[in-house]
Symmetry: C2
């Protein structure tokens, strides 16, 4: 038995979509979340900067002696995980491998679409993982940089979101994909728009859910905290953004409660 | 005569719209520009964080011993200028005062609209400046958070931009403003969309242009570098973002040339 917490971080508050799934699947695990709201977004930045920011996020979470650190951010997972995983003596996982595994086992025609930020798509990491699982898979990637601002500004079900999604998804539809990885924490919030456009026969992979499932199987059976123990949830952010509670509860799908504290993430840079 | 440079900074590359005007109006001045591309955007962050970032930007530029530092960012000008201007022994100006002065002298019906980021609008600084110039002015402010991502993703003249602009500008039109301050560096790039919606009888104030005019009048006549001297332009950024040259030249309206260097802005925090 290991009472230590699970650490989760994201470039902002979107990673709470993953926390929501962990709370559901591992209801007795204590969670420490860090949202880098003072430096969000990561998806538009260079690989070098994404790695630098990811390192400081891990350094911050390491203080809590977590049994596992989950990079809930599609951009940081695809761009920085490989670099950081051997540089810290803590178990670190990202959202790419679980999502790729799910897509690879779900697809019937072998054609998989991947959508994400510029950073995620430029890294080519989803495609690389998918091909390592099955070299015959055909992968079609498309950066969708407008989706994050649309979600963050509440355009979840509006005509402009449909118009922009139509434009982004057209090449994936033309290619005939039967499975799409929603490679960014924000995208599950416009899952209905995406599904309306691509049709219900196309499976949409939610990385938060797949990552929580993967985390449950990763944490050794003996390490799962025993049923009955009250889990502790701690939330840290690097900036108190406008509308914090509203945005957080949009991703968490319930009111955020517990300890919420602002920290200086610059103190964790070397 | 003062051969020292003019320092200009912005949260990202949008401030180059102001640099463009300075190059035009003060063609013999050397310019050092810093674009905080590693922490962009400022407009969604808290006042505390905007001030912290602005202080480090000024600390970086101060090294070049500038005769004047121009905050070309609407958010930093409205949120941080008042706080920082007496804390550094260098002449610092922002975009709010020049834009407000221009609007106040242009309006005929005394009704002025202000559009900007959430940070700028929440600060209330434009309204405060306008009222200090003429307490009878009626000011209508509206945050337009989708405009920056639309511009940065090239939706300069597209239907979605018209739809979102229509939504944002409706309350200003209903109020009957005859003058609108484009309170963010990015907005002049969609001036045509805005003008098509509000009509040509509404004057649109470009802060970059007004600020350059103001800078020319601020720099003492003796301090203007003599015609004939070749100006030096230096550009610094905190991250090499994708499409850097393309985005920079979109704002500068010409190819960016000269020294472009990436720096660690974290080294300038205290």
């Amino acid at each position: 038995m290991d009472n230590r917490c699970v650490g989760v971080f994201d470039s902002g508050l979107g990673g709470l979509t993953c926390v929501k799934e962990i709370m559901k699947l591992l209801p007795y695990e204590s969670i420490v979340y860090f949202g880098d709201t003072g430096r969000v977004p990561y998806g538009t930045r260079s690989a070098e900067t994404i790695i630098k920011y990811t390192e400081s996020d891990i350094r911050f979470l390491k203080q809590f002696d977590p049994k596992l650190i989950i990079i809930a951010c599609g951009t940081a997972s695809s761009t920085a995980l490989e670099y950081v995983k051997d540089r810290f003596d803590v178990n670190i996982m990202g959202v790419v491998a679980p999502s790729a595994a799910a897509a690879s086992s779900l697809t019937e025609n072998g054609k998989i679409g991947v959508i994400g930020t510029n950073g995620s798509i430029n890294s080519g990491k989803y495609e690389q993982y998918l091909k390592s699982l099955n070299k015959d898979l055909q992968v079609y990637s498309k950066a969708c940089p407008m989706f994050v601002p649309l979600v963050e500004n509440g355009y979840l079900d509006s005509k402009v979101t449909y118009m922009i999604a139509q434009e982004y998804l057209a090449p994936l539809m033309d290619a005939g994909v039967d499975t799409i990885i929603l490679g960014c924490t924000h995208y599950p919030l416009i899952k209905k728009v995406i599904s309306d456009i691509v049709g219900q026969h196309v499976a949409l992979i939610d990385p938060g859910k797949e990552t929580a499932l993967y985390a449950r199987s990763t944490i050794d059976a003996h390490e799962v905290d025993p049923a009955g123990k009250e889990p502790e949830y701690k939330f840290y952010i690097s900036d108190f953004v406008d509308n914090f509670s509203h945005t957080a509860s949009m991703f968490l799908q319930k009111e955020i409660s517990g300890n919420i504290e602002k920290i200086n993430i610059e103190n964790y840079m070397v």
